[in-house]
């Protein structure tokens, strides 16, 4: 059974300072919460580079390729119509739809990829059990530590108190 230690901070800078110190304890998984993206979070929390761009590139190219093949197969292979003697494989006329389908696939991948990498939609998460956590989308900055080590709790809490956390909550994650 894992334990969440949640702490509320006045500012992003304080939250990140606490995050750096808790991270050095190496006791569990860290996450920060803030009403908007803040500078320095990647380094303080150890957030890796996002994989969304790679997914978008692959999907966009796939969409364009599949689109072109579809156009070619429909108009040149399965249902060839002679329009004013123009070639059946009229590639300049296939460019617009190829482009549009590439963009369509890439954009959809960027949206779906965002949700997938974030693990959303997820209507409930243990952090929501703390009523005050609602301030994370308004004006407060929260830090969470998920740990399996019961003994580490006191160490974490002393660091959080030292960094002037406004409030500290401890949750048991039943999952």
């Amino acid at each position: 059974m894992a334990t969440y230690v949640l702490a509320e901070f006045e500012s992003g800078a304080r939250m990140l300072a606490a995050a750096r110190r808790v991270r050095d304890l190496r006791v569990g998984d860290l996450d920060g919460y803030s009403p908007y993206p803040i500078e320095g979070a990647d380094e303080a929390l150890g957030i890796a580079r996002s994989k969304v761009p790679a997914l978008v590139l692959v999907s966009g190219l796939t969409g364009a390729l599949l689109g072109y093949l579809m156009l070619y197969w429909c108009n040149a292979v399965d249902y060839p119509i002679n329009v004013g003697g123009r070639p059946l494989h009229s590639y300049p006329a296939f460019i617009p739809i190829t482009f549009e389908l590439g963009v369509l696939f890439a954009s959809t991948a960027s949206f779906v990829g965002l949700l997938a990498f974030c693990g959303l939609p997820r209507p409930h998460h243990p952090v929501f059990d703390v009523a005050k956590f609602r301030s994370a989308s308004v004006d407060r900055f929260w830090l969470s530590v998920r740990t399996d080590d019961v003994g580490a709790r006191s160490k974490i809490e002393s660091v959080l108190a030292d960094e002037k956390a406004l409030d500290v909550a401890v949750l048991e994650d039943e999952a």
């Binding site: 992003g12 996450d31 108009n75 249902y79 617009p96 369509l104 989308s137 004006d139």
Partner: protein, 477 residues
Amino acid sequence: MAATGQTAGPRAFVLEADPLEPIALIEGRYDDRSLTRLLTRFVLERRGFGWWALFLPALGALGLFLAAVAVTVFIGVGTWGNNIPVAWAFGITNFVWWIGIGHAGTLISAILLLLQQRWRTSINRFAEAMTLFAVICAGLFPLLHLGRPWFFYWLFPYPSTMRVWPQFRSALVWDVFAVGTYFTVSLLFWYMGLIPDLATLRDAATSRRKRILYGIFALGWRNSLRHWKHWRVAYLLLGGLATPLVVSVHTVVSFDFATTLVPGWHSTVFPPYFVAGAIFSGLALVMTLIVPARWLMGNKTVVTLKHLENMNKMILATSWMVAYGYITEHFIGWYTANRYEHSTYQDRLTGAYASVFWALMLCNVLVPQVFWSKWARTSVPVMWLVSVLINVGMWSERFIIIVQSLHHDYMPSQWYLFRPTWVDLSLLFGSMGLFATLFLLFLRYVPAVPISEVKELNSETAAEGQLGAGQPEPSGL
């Protein structure tokens, strides 16, 4: 973005070196809590009767639209004024006009995002919503024009029992893909930007019903910085994808005309000329909408005169692009030394629709020139009036391109005038009702100014020590 004052050189020098941001984009001092309250107020708290005063007429116009649609569907497109040779008339004019309007939304949200224009922040959500609803209005017109709209799915390549496939060498099929993709991408872009703000609404809401409803649409967003990382990248990528898309959509629309042989249509200037006109008309509609909306919603400190002035500068610039398009179009018409082209452009200046042509010149070229004056750019009544006139002018431009060119093609024996019927006019004005209804519902249920982005901007300007920013972070974030 890091605070520029801390990354290089003495602070004063860096601030002076940034002439693009001389005035604060948020007036007054706000912290995150008061900004949240300001921006969610219209959605979460009691509203005055101003909203209803606009919503009821919009519903009335929507009723008119539905009546005209019913007549069109049950009796047929014969109730429109279309004839041969003017087979496209109002239906396609309205389509081109509406779809063009959408383009400014994507311009503001995507292109200005890539160019790091911070003033876009307060108005981008608003402009994106306008795009979505304009594309919905636009899409309905070709659909109704089909005559049998219930067969619209024939446009898509699906394995049908008739064993035929769409003819992809036709520009009209390109339109289906361009508009369909444009709507989908605009919706995703809008919704992605909205997710964190829906979470803010969920958390700031006082009633249980609102908390559950906004909670569902927020998809469980919990403001995790790990999620913000993906969100930022994905949002920027969508902006990057929407930018070439927006240029392609009106280009494809212009191909509907440019790939034909009709005098007045058969011209290579059409794609850039259409895109410029699209952005011009969309900026004008943003202005037409934002002036009453910022009054209605009481967020003038976030949507400031500075924003409106920047928009007016863009209107002035795009007005000249459109003017250049007109000049090129007429010059090339003359330079072709083709008597049919000559005849068409002669008729445009002096023929049956000359009054519409001169009205569009007045509205699109002459009137926007008042924005050379700073007084006009910052006078709310003037800019609103100008924006309405530009909307009229741009609709007239689409009308002239379509109806005037078609009614006067190669064979004088085929020349025939187009006159709109009451169904045509009801569809045009009714579609504005549809748009207004959707837009007012948007203002009421969704935060029209992006909350998280404005707070981020506010904290950045605070860090840079600019006028009007909130309390700076203690340790200089």
